[in-house]
């Protein structure tokens, strides 16, 4: 045996220990991989209100564990006064890792600071500044509501006393598309959230519903029946140039866009019961996505492109999540109509009369909307 061969043999033994050695020495420690933080109550006249919102945001984000300051990896503090917040995050050695000034009302500045903390400490986008919209019956009719992601700050957008349903928020919550029945037919309306201006954008013969604004904010995918069957179409944001995607004898519904806007996943009952299919945004033929469930509707594609959430029916309705790449669907809750947050970690869905926020990795649920009559069909801005 040459010296060279001996060296190679030695290196191999050292670098690649037999697998059983590792397994037999495993000590099971239930390690909490959340980042430990401590929040020093913020100073200033708005300090109390901002601290409360900030605590709630950081808690709901799922990334952090609040501990006593001696054990914390990061300390969060600052001053809030007169519509401005000076926020600061220091590490355990006292070095500043984030220092930034925000302006706006107390909730808004707290949300902005919370999202910056999440992004700085985890590298992931936060959800605190995002908006949700949903349908609720509190006024006696189905109307569209807009709220912060935690259900607070809610306001009613429509007051038509017709049926207003199927809302979809575009990127940054600039626009909201929804289905309104005030003409007597289901038409798609587009609301400019900041100005409140509303425009009827799709009023083709028959039923126009299930609008989904594309990730770039420029297009709408929806179900239209104008050509004699409920099929999927893609139109411009203001309804122009409808392009037909599917041709089946069944019902296509609930399209959801891929993050790059190149593909759609939707529900179709063309094979009998509703199943999920994937199709190019330019058309082609829909490919079945095997889920192992008999009734699958309301798909939602996660913003990171990796996961799919949808409703399954087996007795009651349940929320299922699966990897886009394949693998089995797992049931995570009972309820319907799940939508992903932009962190691809949380989902919001309806259950009973309420909307529920679920942190998927931990399974923790929080009721975010209740007491507005029956709340359904949530949508969540990116």
């Amino acid at each position: 045996m040459t010296i060279r061969a001996i060296v190679i043999l030695l290196v191999t033994v050292v670098l690649c220990p037999p697998a059983f050695a590792e397994d037999s020495s495993v000590i099971t420690v239930r390690k909490d991989n959340r980042i430990s933080i401590t929040i020093t109550p913020l100073g200033g006249s708005s300090g109390g209100a901002v601290t409360q919102t900030l605590q709630n945001d950081l808690d709901l984000s799922g990334w952090f564990q609040t501990v006593s300051d001696a054990r914390a990896s990061f300390t969060i503090g600052g001053t809030a006064e007169g519509g401005s917040l000076q926020g600061r995050v220091t590490d355990s050695r006292g070095s500043v890792v984030l220092s930034k000034k925000y302006s706006g009302d107390d909730r808004s500045t707290a949300h902005q600071f919370a999202d910056d903390i999440v992004e700085t400490l985890t590298g992931h986008k936060g959800i605190a500044t995002t908006k949700i919209a949903f349908v609720a019956t509190g006024s006696g009719a189905k109307e569209i509501y807009l709220a912060d992601y935690d259900g607070k700050n809610s306001r009613r957008l429509t007051s038509d006393r017709a049926i207003s349903v199927a809302p979809s928020l575009g990127p940054g919550a600039r626009y909201l598309a929804y289905t309104g029945y005030q003409s007597g037919y289901p038409d798609v309306y587009l609301i400019d959230i900041s100005s409140g201006a509303r425009q009827r954008v799709i009023d083709a013969p028959g039923t126009n519903s299930g609008a989904a604004i594309s990730p770039d904010g420029g297009q709408i995918a929806l179900t239209m029946s104008k050509d004699g069957n409920p099929e999927l179409y893609v139109t411009g944001l203001r309804g122009g140039g409808a392009r037909r995607l599917t041709r089946t004898s069944g019902v296509e519904s609930s399209p959801t866009w891929s993050p790059d806007g190149r593909e759609l996943i939707y529900s179709s009952d063309n094979g009998g019961s509703p199943q999920l299919y994937r199709i190019g945004a330019g058309g082609g033929s829909g490919r079945l996505i095997p889920t192992g469930h008999n009734y699958c509707t309301d798909p939602c594609w996660s913003p990171d492109g990796k996961k799919l959430a949808f409703t399954v029916r087996s007795g009651g309705f349940s929320i299922a999540i699966m990897d886009i790449g394949g693998g089995g669907a797992r049931i995570v809750a009972s309820g319907q109509n799940p939508v992903w947050g932009r962190d691809s970690r949380h989902i919001i869905f309806s259950s009973g009369s309420n909307l529920i926020l679920l942190d998927v990795p931990t399974g923790r649920t929080t009721t975010i909307v209740s007491g507005l009559g029956k709340a359904t069909e949530p949508t969540w801005s990116f």
């Binding site: 013969p205 028959g206 019902v251």
Partner: protein, 167 residues
């Protein structure tokens, strides 16, 4: 119009035959993009004519009922469709068909299913010789149940397509 050269016609025929046989080998369907040629496009809406509006008379004809999760018009429901077809043949009034579902589906899918039921009844009327241009459709999904009690009997009653006659 210019006269077509016989040779060109022959070539076109050959090409058509080749393409047809190709398509037949690939799949048995005849749709442009592969699988289904849908029904007759809906006519433009008529101003002010909405199913729930004052100028539409509802309840003149019996609603067509459907099976669970189904949109085919069963043979036992066909007499209802034939009654409407007869009435339309002796009248100039156009109609709106409104599709409804029970509450056991998810909401957006039910809107699609309700529309498909309305369109299935429209197709049945077209097969009875009625011009599709006289028939509008609309879906209300699971809204406005005739029986909000729940249970099999209520659900069966809610799975329906209603006729509205535009005055």
């Amino acid at each position: 119009m210019k006269k077509t050269h016989p040779l060109f016609t022959a070539l076109a025929l050959c090409l058509a035959v080749t393409l047809t046989s190709c398509a037949t080998k690939k799949d048995r369907y005849a749709g442009v993009d592969g699988d289904f040629v849908s029904g007759v496009p809906l006519p433009d809406r008529q101003d002010g004519a909405a199913f729930l509006g004052g100028n539409v008379s509802r309840g003149q004809f019996q609603p067509v009922q459907f099976g669970f999760d189904a949109y085919d018009v069963s043979s036992s429901e066909m007499p209802k469709v034939q009654t409407v077809a007869q009435a339309m043949k002796s009248s100039k009034n156009d109609i709106i068909i409104a599709g409804f579902t029970d509450e056991r589906g998810t909401e957006e899918y039910n809107r699609g299913l309700g529309e498909r039921r309305a369109l299935a009844v429209r197709e049945a009327l077209i097969r009875q010789g009625i011009n599709g241009g006289r028939i509008q459709t609309v879906s209300f999904g699971e809204e406005m149940p005739v029986d909000s009690g729940g249970g099999e009997a209520a659900w069966a009653a809610n799975r329906r397509a209603e006729f509205g006659v535009i005055r």
